[in-house]
């Protein structure tokens, strides 16, 4: 046990305290952050802050009644200028004094018909400000129960609940769609990078012959277990830092973007992600280690690595099938096949409520597969470690000629 821990520690520190790890660790969130920041900035900087005009023939609007919120970067308060006639507004629009004007005809209280005249359509945020202004001036809701009034203002909310009432999702919980998708992408990145380290470490040890010294100090099982645990440690470190990074960004972002304030994950959701992703990660790591043990060169190993990684991505290639029918036969089967299960299950969770028993079953299949994969890797290792010049065949690994 002590030796496993020593190998784990060594594997972990030798990857985590490397420049390339720091680079791969920071590159993804920084890339996302930069893209995110740039696109948001571009969107908001490009908002036209020129005043908005209106011509009110119905006499409904009273500028003094406007309740003005604080102006923010993402929601700048626009000045409204009343005009007596469409001609005046038209002239102001053509002179660039206003970016657009609304026309409320005399019949407005009856048919609630509004016209918007513009050269370039104002941003949604600005149109929303005018809608709020109009709503504040309408006496339509005056005699309503405030609760009903609020319900009307918020519109409908669709909530889906499983028959047994154990799980539910609702339409405005955008994060229930986004979180599994992001988790899938992160999972993929972690598997590629840290799985790649493991593969590289095993092949390098074979190439530089350190293996023979290590194997006369510890058993192949200890070596394999230590390496895989170390590798998972590397992956989890990466994941944890990304999650902290994401969480931090959410907290900061929520101050500016109200939509982010709704974000919260039910604890069982996290459990599902861990129950599926961790065993899947162990399984793929062990398969990669087994590949490392059977091939002779790093380049060859990398080719084999893509053979393992590509099937993991299959559900993304057919994402439309998952969107159209997330509980369909194909989607369900793929969420039980060990190699496609992690991404398939995450995609299904994005688009539907996956029955609890299916999540549990997939998790169990993955745990069993992970154990089997470690066993397989140990065996491949024992056979392959000293065959420097020769690649090991799968038949040999499963065959009976194994040294014990």
């Amino acid at each position: 046990m002590d030796k496993i821990w020593r190998i784990t520690k060594y594997e972990y520190t030798r990857h985590v305290f490397q420049k390339r790890f720091l680079f791969s660790l920071l590159s993804l969130p920084i890339l996302i952050l930069v893209m995110f920041a740039v696109s948001i900035l571009v969107a908001f900087v490009s908002i036209n802050k020129t005043p908005l005009g209106y011509v009110d023939r119905s006499g409904v609007l009273d500028l003094a009644a406007r309740e003005v919120k604080d102006s923010t970067l993402f929601n700048p308060v626009i000045e409204f200028i009343p005009y007596q006639s469409t001609e005046g507004a038209e002239t102001a629009l053509n002179n660039g004094q206003i970016q657009a004007y609304y026309l409320l005809p005399e019949t407005y209280p009856q048919n609630l018909d509004v016209q918007l005249v513009f050269i370039e359509e104002p941003a949604n945020e600005i149109q929303a400000q005018f809608s709020d202004f109009v709503a504040q001036n309408l006496s339509l809701f005056d005699n309503l129960d405030p609760q009903v009034e609020r319900r009307l203002a918020e519109g409908s909310q669709l909530k889906i609940t499983t028959l047994d009432g154990s799980r539910e999702t609702s339409q405005d919980q955008w994060y229930t769609i986004l979180t599994p998708l992001i988790a899938g992408i992160l999972f993929f990145f972690v598997v590629i990078t840290s799985g790649g380290y493991l593969l590289q470490a095993v092949v390098e040890e074979k190439e530089n012959r350190t293996m023979e010294i290590v194997i006369t100090s510890v058993s192949p099982g200890q070596l394999m277990t230590g390496k895989i645990i170390g590798d998972i440690g590397v992956g989890l470190t990466q994941l944890l830092i990304w999650i902290l990074f994401g969480w931090g960004s959410l907290m900061i972002g929520a101050k500016y973007l109200p939509v982010l304030q709704d974000f919260s994950l039910p604890p069982e959701y996290l459990f599902v992600l861990l129950g599926i992703l961790i065993p899947a990660f162990v399984m793929i790591s062990a398969i990669l280690a087994a590949i490392g043990a059977t091939v002779t060169e790093l380049r060859e190993a990398q080719q084999f690595q893509s053979l393992v990684i590509l099937p993991v991505m299959i559900p993304y290639y057919i994402v439309s099938t998952f969107m159209a029918n997330p509980n369909g036969t194909l989607a369900t089967i793929l969420s039980f096949v060990p190699i496609t299960a992690p991404i398939a299950m995450l995609l299904r969770m994005s688009f539907t409520i996956v029955p609890t028993w299916q999540v549990v079953l997939a998790s169990m299949i993955l745990i069993i597969s992970a154990i089997f994969a470690i066993w397989f890797a140990g065996r491949a290792f024992r056979l392959g470690m000293l065959q420097y010049g020769k690649r090991l065949t799968i038949k040999e690994v499963f065959g009976k000629r194994v040294q014990q």
Partner: protein, 311 residues
């Protein structure tokens, strides 16, 4: 297991071990023992089965048949802490500092960190590597890497040391240091198996040897016994002056580099020749029975076996 003649436990006892890889019989019914306090030369041409034998001792391979006892019984994980192995194909982690690499390898031998650090410092200083301990292994010269490898082999004070070609990349100064180190370990009672092609090193260091070819035992015993077994009846003489052309009892005189090789008559004895030479008034500074160099024995024995096998 108990060696009556020597009165101590053998560190390794191999009894009729065989190993076959496909069509190749790598090791064939091989038996030998290695004692504590000896340097044991494991010799043989390339592909003779030396590495396979070593790997069977280390339990990397299991023999198809036969038995191996290491440190009093079958090999197990605990015993690995008492074995130091330096494979022919050197193996050190290239991308990390030397000190870190060696400390990790020492920790895998069950050494605690404090002990490993103090031992390592002693060895690094002794082998003149202390100043480069923070350098990455790949930045070190071949000879330095080899010395580092030797540290990895010896740092945990193993009872059994197995080293393959320990002198290949070393200059004469370092060769001498390493030789002394091995002799010191032997004198401390460790068993050392040394596999090498440098016969002069074997002659200098080894107490006993095992020569194998095609996985079979060709020679096995003390160096002395083997050399006298192959001793010719030639005599090497270094005289002060030129030797006369004819000496009684000598069939032929061959001039070597400042020395002479005397090939004796069928029934002449070396003692008689020495007497004859003194009587003839020849002044000599050196007189010895020519033992064939191990190199020559090696070639001869291997050739004989090849001839016998090829019919």
């Amino acid at each position: 297991m108990f060696n009556k003649k020597r009165g101590k436990m053998a560190i390794i006892t191999a009894h009729n071990i065989s190993k076959r890889f496909g069509e190749t019989q790598a090791v064939d019914q091989l038996s030998f023992e290695v004692q504590p306090g000896e340097i044991f030369g494991l010799l043989g041409p390339n592909g003779a089965g030396k590495t396979t034998s070593i790997r069977m001792i280390l339990d990397i391979f299991q023999p198809d048949s036969g038995e191996i006892s290491v440190l009093d019984g079958p090999m197990n994980e605990e015993k690995k802490n008492h074995i130091g192995y330096m494979p022919e194909e050197r193996g050190l982690y290239q991308d990390i500092p030397l000190e870190r690499c060696l400390l990790f390898l020492a920790s895998l031998k069950g050494m605690d960190s404090a002990n490993a650090k103090s031992q390592l410092e002693t060895y690094l200083r002794h082998l003149d590597l202390y100043d480069v301990r923070d350098k990455k292994v790949k930045e070190l010269s071949k000879g330095m890497q080899q010395k580092a490898q030797l540290i990895a082999t010896l740092i945990h004070d193993p009872r059994l040391v197995i080293i393959d070609e320990p002198f290949t990349s070393l200059d004469p100064v370092n060769t001498e240091i390493v030789k002394k180190l091995l002799e010191q370990k032997r004198d401390e009672g460790k068993a050392i198996i040394m596999s090498t092609h440098q016969m002069s090193q074997v002659e200098e260091l080894c107490n006993r040897i095992l020569l194998i070819n095609h996985g079979q035992r060709l020679l096995y015993g003390t160096l002395q016994d083997i050399q006298s077994q192959f001793a010719s009846r030639d005599i090497l003489v270094t005289p002060l002056t030129e030797l006369p052309g004819v000496i009684e009892g000598v069939a032929e005189v061959k001039k070597l580099n400042g020395r002479y090789r005397l090939i004796l008559d069928q029934d002449a004895q070396p003692n008689q020749i020495l007497k004859n030479m003194i009587q003839a008034g020849i002044e000599i500074t050196q007189f010895e029975i020519a033992t064939p160099p191990l190199n020559q024995i090696f070639i001869e024995v291997v050739r004989q076996q090849e001839c016998a096998q090829n019919g």
